[in-house]
């Protein structure tokens, strides 16, 4: 058999490489979402699961990847890279790892495309699944939310590893030979996690930033699922010394908050810069970073319509104001709302306001009306009903200047397993009404003290009566035996 690739084989190979690249990006990004991934095996082939693996597709990620590829395929000299970085709530950022999908010139002309190459690509994806849980960034990504978030960036072209600091390690995931070249997948990860300051203020003095400043211009884009007019772009420059003449229109996208349907952003009040770090409330325990926050699905429908979502957007914009400090001209933005992955229906939004009180989350209930929809009107402070609310906020420890009392609002308690709130008395209403029962009178101090004194006084009288009736009591006791 000659070494020429048939047309069909060439088409197949291109398709395989394209979808392999897209699935690679999905696996890497999903592994950095901070949640455990679980997909089901299916014995009957669905026809849509590439490489016979159940890897879900997050639409935004696919969109980003396709944009970066811009119709090209990874090839010799054209690598597709996924860069994972960490960004703190103060704005410092650090590249953690770079995954590279490359191709070299070593060809395997004899290999069967539709069979062997396909199966080996499948094996490589499995390896990628396993390895993404083992590199240091995985543990960091599982703990993201409160102090930092994980961002990803896809770019195409030359591999850039300078942002990883000194002594970075490389691990090869695997290689697959094809008739047009050998596909290799590898990861370069930072080992020196000593944090380098890379403030995005822009006006700090130059030349004092070690590694982060070598990273290229980043463009933070936020995606809105409401009409295109709501889409807001911000571009900010991390302080860099050597401009890189490579692909510039790349995006650094935060991972926390990605769902498999849509992702929501909110234009905040400072001139359209979306800032949505929905960090857990100050005082929240560090390991409580997996709160069941709102599960967004189609925010197109929800943003303007439902009270719950509008309350949440308000919350997000408020909390972000506090968390990100004073707004700056070149404010880098992230949105970090924790949403559930793989969720397709809207569920409750319960925000733990403060963990000092048990069940503090149920302490106050605020229902937002449409008028407070931040998309429509500038947000107002919602009124607070519960007397406990003041105590909740007195314990806030973050000290952020922008925090207001209304920061943590509780919207529409929807207890699990209860029906919708159509009935006059459902579980949620019941709970709210009876969650603050009055104290037992016998437990209140005054009354108990009083009765104690009375008891003591009446004791001698009682004793006399009992002694008199002793025979009666004895007879009674005998009847019991």
């Amino acid at each position: 058999m000659d070494g020429e690739l048939t047309l069909q084989d060439k088409k197949d190979l291109d398709k395989f490489i394209k979808f392999f690249a897209l699935k690679t990006v999905q696996v890497i990004v999903q592994a950095r979402l901070g949640e455990k991934i679980c997909t089901r095996s299916s014995s009957s082939p669905t026809g849509s699961d590439w490489f016979n693996l159940a890897i879900k597709d997050i639409p935004e990620v696919t969109h980003e990847a396709k944009k970066a590829l811009a119709g090209q395929l990874p090839g010799i000299g054209r690598s597709m890279c996924v860069e994972i970085s960490l960004k703190t709530s103060e704005g410092d950022s650090m590249e953690l790892e770079t995954w590279c999908l490359e191709m070299n010139e070593k060809c395997d002309k004899e290999i069967k495309v539709s069979y062997t190459v396909y199966n080996r690509l499948s094996l490589l994806l499995k390896s990628l699944l396993a390895i993404t849980r083992v590199t240091p960034a995985y543990k960091l990504s599982r703990k993201q939310g409160h102090d930092y978030v994980i961002l990803y960036r896809i770019y195409f072209g030359e591999v850039q590893l300078n942002g990883l600091g000194e002594g970075f390690q490389t691990v090869r995931v695997g290689m697959v030979g094809t008739p047009v070249g050998t596909i290799t997948l590898s990861c370069a990860y930072r080992t020196n996690l000593a944090f380098m300051s890379g403030r995005a203020t822009g006006e700090d003095d130059a030349g004092t930033f070690p590694s982060v400043e070598d990273s290229q211009e980043v463009c933070t884009t936020s995606f809105s699922t409401s009409p295109p007019s709501q889409c807001v772009f911000t571009v900010s420059k991390t302080h860099f010394q050597t401009p890189r003449p490579v692909v510039m229109d790349t995006l650094k996208v935060p991972l926390l908050g990605l769902t498999f349907t849509n992702q929501m952003i909110v234009p905040s009040k400072e001139g359209g810069i979306p800032v949505l770090p929905l960090h857990p409330a100050p005082g929240t325990q560090a390991d409580h970073d997996r709160m069941p926050l709102c599960n967004l699905t189609d925010m197109n429908q929800h943003v303007a319509a439902t009270p719950s979502s509008s309350g949440e957007t308000e919350l997000l914009s408020k909390s972000s104001e506090g968390k990100s400090g004073t707004p700056q001209d070149t404010l880098e933005t992230t949105f970090t709302r924790k949403v559930g992955a793989f969720v397709n229906k809207p569920t409750n939004q319960v925000i733990a306001a403060n963990m000092d009180l048990p069940f503090a989350v149920f302490a106050s209930k605020i229902v937002e009306s449409e008028d407070t929809d931040v998309m429509v009107n500038p947000p107002d402070s919602p009124t607070l009903e519960s007397p406990l609310h003041a105590s909740l906020h007195s314990d806030q420890s973050s000290g952020s200047s922008g925090l207001t009392q209304d920061e943590f609002v509780m919207v529409e308690l929807k207890p699990a397993f209860s029906k919708d709130d159509f009935l006059p008395m459902d579980l949620g209403t019941f709970y709210r009404e009876f969650q603050n029962p009055p104290q037992l009178s016998s437990l209140s101090i005054d009354i108990s003290a009083q009765s104690m004194a009375e008891d003591l006084d009446s004791l001698p009288e009682k004793l006399a009566i009992y002694e008199k009736n002793m025979e009666e009591f004895d007879a009674f006791v005998d009847t019991l035996q």
Binding site: S42, S43, K126, K139
Partner: protein, 218 residues
């Protein structure tokens, strides 16, 4: 054809045995499991989809990925449980080795029973230590987590050498190559066995060989 074999070794605390062994076995089986085959006419077949699941370890600072198949998980847990009990019963500070062997069945003529020809063997040797206090345990937890991560990378490196794999079988031959008994996935035929050495380093008088997957015995 020579059977290739890999040995991994790890030092763990007793309570970490189960998780480390499961992590290794599942990582290997992830790479050696396919979707269910559905044979069609003309000798073609289609393959089902394999799902994956992240598993966090409790006593080791590590997360591994396994195939989404509860049946397979149960089977492995059973064998690992036996291995763990045997290790613990052998006394403290012992060591043991658990092996995962992939084999092909070769039909033989009567009266000979079918041959099982191994083509890949993974041996995982564990040395068990006892730790004195909680601080040591915490350090051990992290260290073993790191080492386990290295082992996973080693496994992946071997897997991606793309060395010998059994040919894809025809429908009549599929049971000689794959374990078709599971509902949702189809791993290559495998068996798990283990060996315990006590702290003196000698083999225990009965080398326990348990076949988890029974081959056809005539």
């Amino acid at each position: 054809m020579n059977c290739r074999s890999q040995t991994l070794e790890l030092t763990v605390e007793a309570r970490q045995i189960e998780e480390t062994v499961l992590a290794v076995l599942h990582t290997v089986l992830l790479h050696r499991s396919s979707g269910k085959f559905h044979y069609k006419k003309e000798g073609t077949y289609s393959i089902g989809t394999v799902g994956t699941e992240d598993v966090d370890c409790d006593f080791v600072d590590c997360t591994y990925v396994r195939v989404s198949s509860d049946e397979l998980d149960r089977t492995l847990r059973r064998s690992v449980g036996e291995f763990k009990d045997a290790l613990r019963n052998s006394g403290s500070d012992g060591s043991g080795q658990i092996s995962l062997e992939f084999y092909q069945k070769k039909k033989s003529r009567w009266p000979f029973s079918d041959e099982c020809i191994p083509w890949e063997v993974w041996a995982f040797k564990l040395n068990v230590v006892n730790l004195a206090n909680e601080q040591e345990r915490q350090i051990c937890r992290e260290k073993v987590g790191e080492k386990l991560g290295e082992k996973i990378i080693n496994i992946i490196e071997v897997m991606n050498r793309h060395e010998y794999l059994p040919k894809m079988p025809t429908q009549s031959e599929v049971d000689n190559v794959f374990d078709t008994g599971l509902r949702d996935v189809q791993p290559y035929l495998y068996k798990i066995s283990y060996q315990i050495t006590d702290s003196l380093g000698t083999s225990v008088s009965t080398t326990m060989r348990r076949l988890i997957k029974d081959t056809l015995a005539l």
